[in-house]
Amino acid sequence: MTTETLIWLIPLPPVLAFFLIVLFTNKSKALSHTIGVGAAFLSFVGSMIVFFRAIGEEHLGEFPFEDAIRWLPTGNSWFEIGVLIDPVGAATLFFVSITIFMIFLYSVGYQNYGQPVGDHDVKGLPPHGATIEEHGHKRVVPSVEPMYSRFFAFLGLFAFGMYLLVVSDNFLTLFVGWEIMGLCSYLLIGFWYGKPSARDAAVKAFMTTRVGDVFMLLGIAYLYSATGTLTFREIFTEETLHVLATTPAWFGMTTSGLIALLLFIGTVGKSAQWPLHVWLPDAMEGPTPVSAMIHAATMVSAGVYAVIRMFPLLTADYTGHGLTTTMSIVAFIGAFTALFAATIAVAQNDIKRVLAYSTISQLGYMIAALGIGAYVAAAFHLITHAFFKALLFLGSGSVIHGMEHGVLHTGNHKVDPQDMYNMGGLRKKMPITFWTFLIGGFALSGFPLITAGFWSKDEILADAFGHGHWAVFVTLAVAAFLTAFYTMRQITLTFLGEPRTEEAKHAQETPWTMTTPLVVLAFFAVTYGWVGIPEHFPLLGGLVPNWFHEFVGSTLAEHPEAVEFNVIPLLASLIVALGGLFFGWLVYRNVKSVGDDKLQIPLLKNKYYFDEIYDFLFVKPAYWFAENVVYKLMDQGVIDGILHLFGPGTQGFGSALRNYIDLPVINRLIGDGSANVTYWFGGKLRAIQTGRVQQYLMLALITFVIIGAALYFFVFAA
């Protein structure tokens, strides 16, 4: 099988699984998850084959794997869609296929496969546990998810969207995958649709990302209009980019800048950047943490991936001196989000929410990196982050799952299994989870040298510093400090110290289907950093070649220069990472309850009140506008009002016609009048109707004679 054919086939198994499960096997849990996991495995194998073939190619950057078919007729030409695997695509495919496969596997355990059916479980609500009798005494154990099959169907569709996005060679199919993931996130966040909070969160996620998507669609339309194509390789040629970069558009920007900005707004929505970040924390309403991980670790990466894809467009008018308008906006939003989200994360107590805000913050890192032109660094951080953030989410899911055991054991359902202040000391109960979580946390914090996060984060900081973007550098450094701080806070509160509740004491390690993915991901969270160690790094530099930079960098026509090594960003990374971790441990090691937490600042705890502000500024006015202005005032009031005037108006006109014209003039004068005249005349005339034949004959003769005479004298004689 050629590599191109294989690439075409990669997205197919999950979507086939989706249809199979929805249409046929949704009654059978075992069959459904076999199909789902099997499909994910097939795609995983395919991706791996493609990936290894890709790294075997010498000049993949110039000659990527690509193939296209005709899809849409447009006037005299065709719009073609196809697949493309270039170095950055291959790298993305690598981590995407691994994480997706891990998710499938993990879901089997997380959704309690093999457990009994719950006592009061209903579809649309999380399982509440089942009572079983064992050796004569009753015991409550976790119950299986009532919509188990459906979950795997959604996962399949989601995986399809992600693969489609990665392998597509043009913006349109990228957008298709993008939106399919949007739908899946809607479906998965609202998976327990019976909970009003989940339902509203789903709608919120869909709508917020749709704000971005709409702009992105506009950007795509713009790009298509301006260049006549949407295929990456056709747009990213020197001539096309030059034309785009030199054509002025509106608002004093170049066409390429404006298009890039529009496309970027899509990313802002999808990757939950400020100001469209509000949906992501609420998305934790989904079946934790699998779907949360989907949004946080995979789908949101798609946003960054899109920016990486359009990087040539973003930097088309960038001369290397002073950021363009679009790049400044991108850099600003990224950096601001990184810091902004990190501050909120500090004050969150829900184990998933911390991670959610951490994700927003880390994505801000990548966006900021792209904004300052650090292409490779962003891609690098994207991949390392995907690994360790997936690890953290799965780990937190494992923790929650363990805590739920405790909750079921004590039967006290008031205890929130996600609140970190209900935990503590879990390192003894859940050792695998603890160690893998620790690795993930350290990677997130950028623990020096060992973890992948250090290398990627360091590269971003080095880039920012090296190109003289001081504001970005400082902001990101502060954010990195906060990151390390809240990560350590999380680890401390969750795993260290003594259990703070009865439930935490009865927490249990999770089954192998859940821990295996943790171990696999932990492996990558550590080792993946080593493929991108800068060449001039003290001591370690050059031990392994900076393969990542070479490989991914070759995607661009103009090979990016690796930034000069400088000790200042390195020191900065070291300080913020270690300092943050240390302070986190220092502050929280003795905190016993939420009351002792000094950082529970209302402003931070309430996420700067963004939800309330948006609700006040947009949601409520929109509904008010829709209902009162558009529907009631405009449609029912003005337009229908005018229409309803036609009724009485016509009737009034009609009765006027009747009363003043029809009745007096037409009826009486013309109608009755002519009748009267005829009647009178007939009355007079009827006298000659004697009924006597001879008189008739006489009259006829007289007439005949008169006419004959007249004819004779006046016609024939003349």
Binding site: V22, R70, W71, L72, P73, T74, G75, N76, V122, K123, G124, L172, F175, V176, G177, E179, I180, L183, Y186, L187, G190, Y193, G194, K195, P196, R199, D200, A202, V203, F206, M207, R210, V211, V214, F215, L217, L218, I220, A221, Y222, Y224, S225, G228, W250, A622, Y623, F625, A626, E627, N628, V629, V630, Y631, K632, M634, D635, I639, D640, L643, F646
Partner: protein, 514 residues
């Protein structure tokens, strides 16, 4: 076989009316017989139009399967039928939706025979508009379609049906008054009603008419045409008949109303206005685009404000049909360019797509209304566990309506946006603004669709519908209803994944026409 081949269009066109008339001879109380008879009778035109579809040579320009019969020789009007890629896709849509609508109305048990007869007559009326290439015949069928629909709403509608049917009838008839006058004018001017002849001569006509400069006269006639079609489409601010009519009509009536009748207006724009008035259309395209954008945005807002499920879906038609007109307006600005063709491709495909998804949505609303006898969104809630299959279908169809990529609505909306924005970028900047504003409507499309799903399927279950006593127990969608939805869903998916099969025909027609 030869007869069928040479009289294909008139067979498709008159078969429903003839079989409808023949229903008079069926026994009056055999309801089941009436239903099956009507279903079979409506499947025949569908089969024939499939035959036409596969025998249609897309690469050949002009009308195909042409037929011409003497009708009204004295004034130069003849029964001239013919289809091109544009009308053939509409014919296919009509003949597809009618059997589905009839199948959807198998639950009607009141005056079944008249109901089915009206449906068959309605089909003939609609098909006639799409097939005729004679202005007078066009107008005749245009009006013929109104009558059965009026009675369908008036006799089988819900509570407020008298008001709605009257509004529908008077509004549409009032709108087409100007059209009638303008058509008469053209007929008098050229001594013929043949569309091809008139198109050739009228667009180049410059002599003053009755002392009025041709330009002024044409502008007036242009608006007469536009208003007639705008009412039908419906374009803002002529849209208020639609929510009433759609809401009050019986389920199958709404399906046909949204699925086909609205397309008549858009078809009029494409078949008559653009070819007959290229200069005027270009001159007034800005105004048209404005109205279209207003329809998109206000339609979405209007829909978002509803608490009645069916009314919500009805308003969504305003929103979606706005895209059709936006595409047409964009094309009018720049006839002959690639952008215009893409916009028209999108507009025509959007007509087809909206036919599928709107019909499906109305049917689904009807399914739940039949079981609960309420359409108030507040009365539902959390029904998903009770009706999982129905829920899945509803979400699927809603997503098509929302324009989710991978389903049909996206393709057409994207093409329209691409085309009109392209016109904005390449020739008329104001279109870029309009397109951007239209996207605001696209955003709110999401809002109202999600609102519908949220209120019906999601959330805490309304115990009323799951009561153990079984009195109000909501039952799952049945096999017949699934059969109605299945072809729609298949087409929605098929067009969404691989639109070329239909878009190629449309595209070739567009390239040849404009």
């Amino acid at each position: 076989m030869d007869f069928i081949a040479t009289h294909l269009l008139s067979l498709i066109l008159f078969f429903p009316a003839l079989t409808g008339t023949a229903m008079l001879f069926l026994p009056g109380d055999e309801k089941t017989l009436h239903k099956w008879y009507a279903l079979v009778a409506s499947l025949v035109p569908f089969t024939l139009s499939l035959f036409a579809w596969f025998n249609f040579r897309a690469s050949q320009s002009g009308y195909q399967f042409e037929e011409q019969y003497i009708w009204y020789e004295a004034i130069g009007s003849s029964l001239h039928l013919g289809v091109d890629g544009l009308s053939l896709s509409m014919v296919l849509l009509t003949t597809l939706l009618t059997p589905l609508a009839i199948l959807a109305s198998f639950s009607i048990n009141e005056k079944t025979r008249s109901y089915m007869m009206l449906f068959l007559f309605l089909e003939t009326g609609m098909l006639g508009v799409f097939m005729s290439i004679d202005l007078l015949i066009f107008f005749v069928f245009w009006e013929v379609g109104l009558v059965p629909m009026y009675f369908l709403i008036n006799q089988w509608g819900s509570a407020n049906r008298n008001y709605a049917s009257m509004k529908f009838m008077i509004y549409t008839m009032g709108g087409s008054l100007g059209l009638l006058l303008a058509v008469q004018l053209l007929g008098v001017l050229f001594q013929t009603y043949d569309l091809q002849v008139i198109t050739e001569q009228w667009s180049a006509y410059t002599a003053p008419i009755a002392g009025i400069p041709a330009g002024t006269f044409k502008a007036v006639a242009f608006w007469a045409f536009v208003i007639a079609f705008a009412v039908k489409v419906p374009l803002w601010p002529f849209h208020t008949w639609l929510p009433d009519a759609h809401t009050e009509a019986p389920t199958a009536g709404s399906m046909i109303l949204a699925g086909v009748l609205l397309k008549l207006g858009a078809y009029g724009f494409l078949r008559l206005i653009l070819p007959l008035y290229p200069a005027e259309a270009k001159y007034f395209a800005g105004a048209l685009a404005f109205l279209a954008v207003a329809a998109i945005v206000f339609g979405a807002f209007g829909s978002y404000a509803q608490t009645d499920f069916k009314r919500l879906v009805a308003y969504s038609s305003v929103n979606h049909m706005g895209f059709v007109v936006l595409g047409i307006a964009a094309a009018a600005f720049a006839v002959g360019t690639e952008d215009a063709r893409i916009a028209l491709n999108g507009a025509i495909l959007q007509m087809f797509n909206h036919g599928l998804s709107a019909a499906g949505m109305f049917f689904l609303v009807g399914v739940i209304y039949e079981r609960t006898h309420t359409r108030n969104l507040e009365d539902f809630g959390g029904l998903f566990p009770l009706v999982p299959v129905y829920g899945g279908i509803l979400i699927f169809t809603s997503m098509a309506s929302l324009g989710l990529p991978g389903l049909n609505g996206f393709i057409s909306e994207f093409l329209v946006v691409r085309g009109s924005f392209g016109v904005g970028v390449n020739s008329v900047p104001v279109m870029a603004v309009y397109t951007s504003v239209a996207l605001l409507g696209l955003l709110f499309t999401g809002a109202y669709i999600l609102k519908g799903i949220k209120k019906v399927l999601h959330g805490p279950m309304n115990e009323h519908w799951s009561s153990a006593s079984g009195e109000h127990k909501l039952t799952e969608i049945n096999a017949r209803e699934i059969v109605v939805m299945a072809p729609l869903m298949a087409l929605i998916l098929w067009i969404g994944l691989y639109p070329a099969w239909i878009l190629d025909v449309i595209n070739r027609a567009v390239v040849m026409l404009f």
